[in-house]
Every structure is written in structure tokens, then in C-alpha cells.
Amino acid sequence: MKIILLLSSIFICTLSFSQTPDPGLPGEYEVSSQEYDFGDETFVTPSFPDMIEVIGSVHYPSDLSDGPFPVLVFLHGRHSTCYNGGSTSIAWPCTGSWSAIPSYQGYDYLAEQMASHGYIVISISANSISSTDNTTPDYGMRARGELVQHHLNLWKDWSTVGGDPFGDLFIGKLDLENVGTMGHSRGGEGVIEHALYNRELGSPFGINAVLTLAPVDFNRPVLNGIPIMNIAPYCDGDVADLQGVHFYDDARYLDDDDTMPKHNLMMLGANHNYYNTVWTPGEFPAGAADDWGYVDTWQTDEHCGSSAPENGRYTPEKQRNSLLAYASAFFRVYIGGENEFDPILKVTDVIPPASSTLDPEDIFMSYHPPTHKRVDVNKQIGEDAELTNDLMTDVEASGLVVYDICGDDFGEQYCIGEGASQEPHNKNGGVAVLGLSQLELEWNSADDYYQNNLPDFLTDFTQFDQLQFRAAVNFATSPTDTELNFNIVLTDNLDETASLPVGDYSHALFFPPGDYGTVLPRTMHNTISIPVEDFTGIDLENIKNIRFEFNESAEGGILISDLALSSNNPVLLPPIANFEANITTSCTGEISFTDLSTFNPTEWFWDFGDGNTSTEEDPIHIYETNGVFTVSLTVTNEAGSDEYIETAYIEIDRPLAPLAEGTSVCGEGEIILNATGAGGTINWYDSPGGTLLGTGTTYEDYITETTNYYIQEEMPNELMSVGPPNRFFGSGGYFGANDLRGIFFDVYSPFILESVKVYANGSGIRKIQVLDGEGGTVVHSLDVDIPNGESVVTLNFPLEVHDGYYIKITGALVDLYRINDGSPDYPYEIPGIVALTGSNADPSTDFYYFFFDWKIRESNCLSPFTEVTATATPSFEIETSDDVTIIAGETTTLTATGGISYSWTPETGLSDPDAGTTDANPAVTTTYTVTALNEEGCASSAELTVTVEGNLNVKENNQVISLQPNPTTGVLNIQTEGVHFPYTIEVLNLAGQLVYKHEKVTETIVQVNLDNLSDGLYYIKLYNSKFETIEKLIIR
């Protein structure tokens, strides 16, 4: 500790005082405050079992005339809810002699300060949620988010139409497009949940800054796109693993378009409770505690124990002062736009504001610049980062005792091996989610170094303001209580160097203080930021590498992350094209491509090598032809473009397309289609990749129009093995504890897990499950009767692409063989398809559980589609002449058109029954059917009737009938002799249609007027039961 103090003195002398204005001083507004209370059981939401109180307070400038003012909302965390004298309870509502504990009032000091700077600050009560949240799966987080939103909705009303209890006081005074939130403890995760909930609702409120204060992170939500700051009190005895740092860690690289910064602030002497005056002993009559005592009952730890001599704890007042200064800075920058406080947040000024009453060794900030203001040199994510950085250039290390990426997989989820409380970044919660991937370095010689080389496009450092990274001293490998130091060296293209000691710029390489059980000391990465302009004597426009030279401290160990160059202004660099495919060999033809280009391309042009292209960012392409294909991606942004080519990258080997002939049908009807394949399954679709209509070599359908079918042959893929082939590669035994252990695996390309081999110590039914993570959702579950001894268990589990599947035995009976001697050699993998990454035991790589010799089969091979057409020839109708009436013995002409050949039936009386036009003189009335064929061979039929009536001039004996005149112009005189009366006169046209009729004629001479008939030939018929005669009549 003395060494730390000495070094601190040197440090303080180097950086004597802050150049940044103090954000923690009171503002100029006089402040008023009011309470509002709509009852203890008022707000109801389906996400929570109990009714929730709507109670809060508001602090605001007494003079509201400068409004509208930005808004801050504070949400407290879980605490006792009721008190009676010195006793407390967690009941709600408080009844009888019990009174509510006003946790929401514990931040009045901060609310008053922010109101004095022109903010309207609302603090809300959430005691009801605290009372019952442990019964809900999400610990009431959704309800907390909904409660914040409910209060904001109330304030929207009060700021627009007013109403009780504030009347019109706040109309037009709240700027709800500019809202900051702060959540303490469980309220921290609550405000993250609220920001996500508000976004789900379409962002009715403008949430522009979120501060999480000593938060829990039970559900691991991630918030991007809004500035966040997490405050981690080093001496937190409640959230003792400081899990809130994951709000920072998890969000860093999740969204390439995230233009919002992230901050993490570690307060080295703060505890959990003292930020809230109601939770602070001496400030409230009940329920208050120094939470460090939760883990260190007698407060004896040398740093965090308040009973220890010369401990490092803040007093309650100092802790509140620190929050005043840094919360003010955060909100005043991101809500108030007062950028003069930027240096405090961006670690370019590491001297605490005077109002915080802190010393430089008391507090440490991390700053993750937004995407467009930084270039990531080395994120230190994944083992590859040991050799290649994010600029795709080489990384070198020389002489280091330890040089290892850790925390990036379950086999190495803790870097120091001390667990959650001592490695907060690697806290593994109730779900299997990894923490921070980071680089562990240990040195013992001044010649040791770590170096990132730079590509040609990133040699000009004059476009950057800071070189920055996060670091923490590895307390397990460093000299105890010794602050470390090393040099950052830039080398230009003439091999000139500029070297700056980290210790001149940051105190972050302190030895983490305290020594308490499994809690202290603990690591937390803090940002070290060095101005680029301080590297003098070299050509900053031609830098070729960044080197960490460990020639200051003789030995030491550190953990680092997030090596980057940052700028105060947007950095615009031409994109560096890069991509990957999910698989590079395929018998289905379907390949998913993912753009991995850096520097924010805005346009993409893919050439898949088979004549097809795409402008999507992450296209899925289906290769129709077999072969080996070169793929290129050209990416473009405002600064330029770049092309990346993978030569002979994709190999396609699909089955040949099946063969089939189309068919046709006239009009509509049933069709039968046949296909020929190579022995696989032939699937019939309505479109390529569309709806499956049927399976098999024959397909039948009824069509009403021409229809295309698409057939594809599906062939079983190769059966592959992964995992140890049997149990005999190591030693172990039968494991009987139920539902505890299993294997993690990643699926890179879909496959079916057909079977596994197991060794049972006795027969019985076991339940095998695959989950999407340990403690996650069950994806497959199967009860299997496993015999004693070795057996192969058939599973047939289809598995989609996913990282972190977990396979286990659940239920009472396990008793299967596992290896536990460290022999397993993870990962067991088939590149591009699957990797068995470890077990959930710790250390995970020492054990192999139950499931040997996995048999997997990738998705079936798929041929290209063959199109098959069933043609429905359009139906046609033939046209014929009209039905006709003739007098027996006459001949008429029948015609049919529309076809190319004709056939008349019956043929009786026809001159040419196979012609379109034929003479007809049937002796009796006849209906002819004419059938025609068109060019497609389709037939169409029609009927035509020839009616034959009587005979011309058939009269009785001695009958004389005279028609005068004939031809006539219209008037016709009919004179008869020897006919029986009465008779009927009918005049018919040539079509046999009746055009005139005169009945009951009894005169021998009768005049008929046919003026209305058009000129032409007619028949005139005189008849009764005794006679019938028909004469031709011409009208002119």
C-alpha cells in the first residue's frame, strides 16, 4: 500500500490538477420539489403478479420559464420495503404500524443537483416489485421497465394537458424527447430493460443516456445505440461480482452501426448502498447497512473493511460526492450537450473533479468510443488475436512468460482461475454466456514485448487523437502491492521510435487492493489513453507498428483488451473487404455469405463466380451448377472501395438434376408426370424451393391450366463421425449424479445428430436432451431405453446453426461412463460443421461426458431443379351453320369452321362427311354431330339439326290452289278449289321459321298481306287435317 501511495504521489505530481471544468458543482437554478402518490396498488401489468405503487418525487427548477427542460428518471433497487421502529420487512403494501421505506428519496441529493442545472428529475418508487420479484423468472425486470414507462406516460400528460396533482404547472416544461435514466442495484438492469422496452414500443420517449449504478445483470440484456455508463463500486458486498460491467463489455462490438459511446467507472472505495441515503446507516432509521459486511462480516479486509486501519473505503459523503460529479458529467454531456466535460468521460483527463473529493487513485474510467470514431487495432477476441489483429496484420510477442487469449471459451472462461467475484468481466451467470475475451501477458525481462503491426492503409496516425486500450494488473502473477509500468512505443517507416511510459498517463496499472477470501483482490479493466500527439520525434504519418515494451517494471502480469485508435471526430477510412461463407463445400448448392469488411461499407457487390451477383450485405446464394468457384466481394463507402477475392473458394457437388418429360391436356384434366433420378428421393414443388407437392417418381394432378412443376432429387449426405470414438482414450468411471453434466457444442452448418455411443452401468430409460445453452430452452428431448454396457443410441435430432448447444442426460437415472482424467482434447470438430467445445464441469476440458462417437449427417444433397410442364391446351369451339328446315327432297348446305379437320355423324344424307362444308338432304329430320380437331389435336364438337318437313305441292285430288301474283310485292291472293275448310295458311322463311300465320280460312279466295316481309324466297303452306300443300313464294 505504501508503494501505491508513493507512486500515486509521483503520478499526481505529473498530472497535477484537472483541466476540465467541474461538473459536480451546483447549478444556478433554485430548486423546488414535490411528491406524487396515486396509491400503493395502482399499476397492473401482466408481467408481474402483484399490483404496483405509483409513487414518486420530482425536483425541478423553481423558475420553469426557461423550459422545456430535459428529464431524468431515477429507479431504485431492491431493498426492504416497510419498517416499524428498527424492524424491516419485504411486505407490500405496508400495513398497521408499518410504514413504507422511501428508497426513491435516497437520491434526492443528486436530483437536487441536476435540477439546479436545469433538469426535471423524477425518482420513482418500486417497493412492490422488490417485494415479489424473486418469485418471477426475470426478477421483475420487465415490470421495472414498464413502471418507468408508466411514469413517463403520466408525465407526458402533465406536460401536455396537465392534471392532478400538478395542475398546469408542468405544461410545456418537460422535453420528453431528451430523457436520461439512472437505475441503482436491480434498478440498473431495470433501466436497461426500460430502454429496450421503450424501443420495442417505437421509442415514444427519447432515451438518450442510461446510467447503471452498481447494477445486477441477471438476464444479460444488451443495450446498444444509447450512451451508457456503468458504475462499479469495488467494495460492493451485495452485487459482489460487479456483474454490471457486462452492460459495457457485451455491447462493445455487438452492433457495427452503434454510434454511441460506452463508459464504465470503477470507484475503488465505494460500496453498494451508500449511493442511496435511505440505505445508508445513520441516514434512515431502519434497513440501512454497509453492504460490504455481507461478505466480510467484521469489516476486516485491508481495503474494503471499514474496521481495517488505513482502509480504502469512501465515507458515505465521499461516495455521494463521487456520484454527483460523475453522474453529472455523464448526463450533462449526453443529455445536456455540455461537451466541455468530455475529457472526464473519455479518459483524456484522469484527474477527478474537485467536487468528487476523490484522488486519481480512487477512481477509473473505461471509454469505448462509438464505431465511427475509432479503429480497432486488436479487440483481443479469440485465439486468432494472438497472431493476427483486427487490421489483418501480424501480431508479434517476444520473450513473454505468458501470452494467451483467455476468457473466450468455456474451457478458459476465467483468465486467472479465481472465479466470478475476483474476475467480474468473466462472471458467468445463470445462463452459459461467456464474459470478456482478453489477452493475458506476463513478463520477466526488459526485452519482452507485444507488438501489433499495421497495414499500409493505417499508417497515418495524425487522423487520430488517442491510442487507447483497457488493462488490469493480474494479481495472481504480479508482485503484490506493486504498481506496474511499461512503455508504449510507436515505430515509423524509418525505424525511428517514440516511447511513452503508461504510468505518465494513467494510474490504471495499480495492484488491485484487498485480500478477502474469494472476493478480493479482483480485476477490472480500465482504459489507458495516450494522446497520439505526445509521440514526438517520429513521422506520425508513417507508423508501422505499436509495441508494448515491458522494460519499466522488472516483472509483472497484465490483462488487456480493446486496443484501438480513437478520434474526437468521425474517422473515415476506405473499407477493407473481407467475407466468409458458412461452408465452402456443398452438395446442396446453398451457401450463406457474411460480410466481414471493416470501416463501415455502405455498398456491397458480390460475384459468386457462377455468373450470378448480389448487392446484399449478407447474401444467401444457391449454386445451380457443379464446380469450383472463385468469389469476390467489392465494398464501398464514401472514402473508397476495396475488393477481396477468394480463389477457388466454393466447391459445389450436387446430384444431377432429375429427368422428366412434360405432358399436355386439352382444356383441363388429369395429368400424370414421370421423373427419373439417380436413386434418391424426387420431390415435386410448385416453384424452386416452394411448396412441396409430392414425393416420388410419379406425380398425378388435375390441371385447369398449363402448370409448371419443379422436381429436385434429394440424396442422403455422407455419414460423419465426431467426438471420441469410444471411452478408451482416457480413464474415468460411471457418473450417477442427475442432470448435472453435459457437453457444449457449436453447430456451424445444419445436420442431423443420428446417434451417439454410450456406456451404461445398468439398463434403464434415460432422457437425453439438447438445449440451446446450459439452463436454456430444450430443443430436443428423447426418452431412450439404454441397455447395460455399450450401445448406440439413435437420436435423429435435426440441429440448426447455433453456438453453445448443450447435450445432457436429465432425470433421475444417469449412470453413464465419462472421462475425468484430463485426457479429452477439445475441441472435437469437423471444420465448418460442428465443434464439441467442452463440458460444463470446471475446468471444462478435463472431462468428457457420456456421448461418444457422434454420427452426424449434414442436410441431404439436393440436385438443381428440373422444370416440368403440364400443358393445358386452351379449349376451342367450332362454329356451325344454323339449324335448318328443308322440304323433303331439298338439299341444304351444312358448314363447320374453327378446326383443321372435321367429321360429321351420322353420315346419312351428307355429301362429304369429312369436310367442313357438306351438302345435306336427309329424308327425315336429322341431328348431325360435327367433331373438329385443332392444330394441337384437341377435339371440339357441335350439333346441327336439319328439320325435314312435308313435300312440295302435295295436294289432295281435285284440289286447285292458285297464288296470284307470285312473285308478289306483298299482297298475295290465294284461290282454292276443292279443299276442305277451314284450313291454315303459314309462311315460313328458308330457315323454317314461321313468319306469317292465318288460321281458320273458310273462303275460296283470300288476300294475304306480306308487306312486312323482306324480299326473298319463302314457303307458303296451306293445311288442315285433310290436306297439306307447300308452295314456293317469292317476295320482291
Binding site: 433497487g77 431492491r78 431493498h79 426492504s80 420495503t81 416497510c82 428498527g86 424491516t88 420487512s89 419485504i90 411486505a91 407490500w92 422488490s130 417485494s131 415479489t132 424473486n134 418469485t135 418471477t136 423468472p137 426478477y139 442495484s185 452498481a214 447494477p215 445486477v216 441477471f218 451485495d238 452485487v239 459482489a240 461480482d241 446507516p281 431502519a286 434497513g287 440501512a288 447497512a289 454497509d290 453492504d291 459486511g293 455481507y294 461478505v295 462480516t297 472465479g419 466470478a420 467475484s421 458467468n428 451467470g429 445463470g430 477470501g517 474469494t518 449424479a737 442427475n738 442432470d739 448435472l740 453434466r741 432425470g811 433421475a812 475425468n820 464441469a841 470446471d842 478435463d846 472431462f847
Partner: protein
């Protein structure tokens, strides 16, 4: 002298006032009962303390052997008792005579109490060993 005695008394008083609001000693926390809830879907495992359970941000987690249970409540809000929900299916699969340990906070390492080379680490976080799991103690309604 009187002044010193007064200060000493104040110090001791303040000291205990600060730490008397939560359970701090192992003996003060003990298993109470096993009962079925009304619809028999859950077993309710009751743990009591002679002091007071912590009401804070973190969560009490109950470990029985390698199994972990999270959902709990304090009956009537009283802090001398905490009851965990154990689904009956899980209850039937618990191994008799497993250690029952109550932990303030969830720590992955605490799930490794199975003889797989990890149990020697014991439990981390504030915790109380409350005896062996005895399913026969379940009271039938």
C-alpha cells in the same frame, strides 16, 4: 473517563446497529420444513433464521447437491423465513442426503459440487450450510 465510556458505548451501539439487520452467522440459518403447495405442483422448502435475511440486489440461491433453485419469497414479507419453490419433478430427482447450501448470489462455481474435482473449492459467496436433503420430511397435505 465517563466521556470515554460514553463514546465506547456509542461506538458499540452504532457497530451493532449497522450489522444486526442481516443474518451473519451460520448457526443462525437453518432448514425449517418441506411442504407441497396447494396444487401439488411445487414443493416449498422453508429456511429460517434467528436474525434476518438480507434484502438487497442479489438473490438467494439454494443448492441441493448439484441442483440450483432461484425462485423464493418471504412469507408475509417477514425476513426470518425464506421459502424456495422446487418443482415436484425436480424434487423427485434430487438425491437424498445431498448437501443443502443457501448462498447469497449465484456463482457458477457453486454448481460444481459433484465430486468432479471441484468440490474441494467449497462454496463461494456468503453462504450457509443447512444440512442434508431429506425428502422423507415432505409433509403431505
Amino acid at each position: 473517563m465517563k466521556k470515554h465510556l460514553l463514546l465506547l458505548t456509542l461506538f458499540i451501539g452504532c457497530f451493532f446497529a449497522s450489522y444486526s439487520s442481516f443474518a451473519q452467522s451460520e448457526a443462525a440459518v437453518y432448514f425449517n420444513s418441506l411442504t407441497l403447495n396447494q396444487d401439488s405442483s411445487k414443493v416449498l422448502l422453508s429456511i429460517k433464521t434467528t436474525e434476518s435475511f438480507i434484502v438487497g440486489a442479489n438473490r438467494y440461491v439454494l443448492h441441493i447437491g448439484g441442483q440450483t433453485f432461484y425462485q423464493s419469497f418471504h412469507p408475509k414479507g417477514e425476513l426470518n423465513e425464506i421459502i424456495f419453490f422446487i418443482p415436484t419433478y425436480d424434487f423427485s430427482n434430487l438425491i437424498a442426503q445431498s448437501n443443502m447450501v443457501l448462498v447469497y448470489g449465484f456463482y457458477h462455481q457453486n454448481t460444481l459440487q459433484d465430486g468432479e474435482g471441484n468440490s474441494q473449492h467449497g462454496y463461494i459467496g456468503k453462504h450457509w450450510r443447512i444440512g442434508e436433503f431429506t425428502p422423507e420430511l415432505l409433509k403431505k397435505n
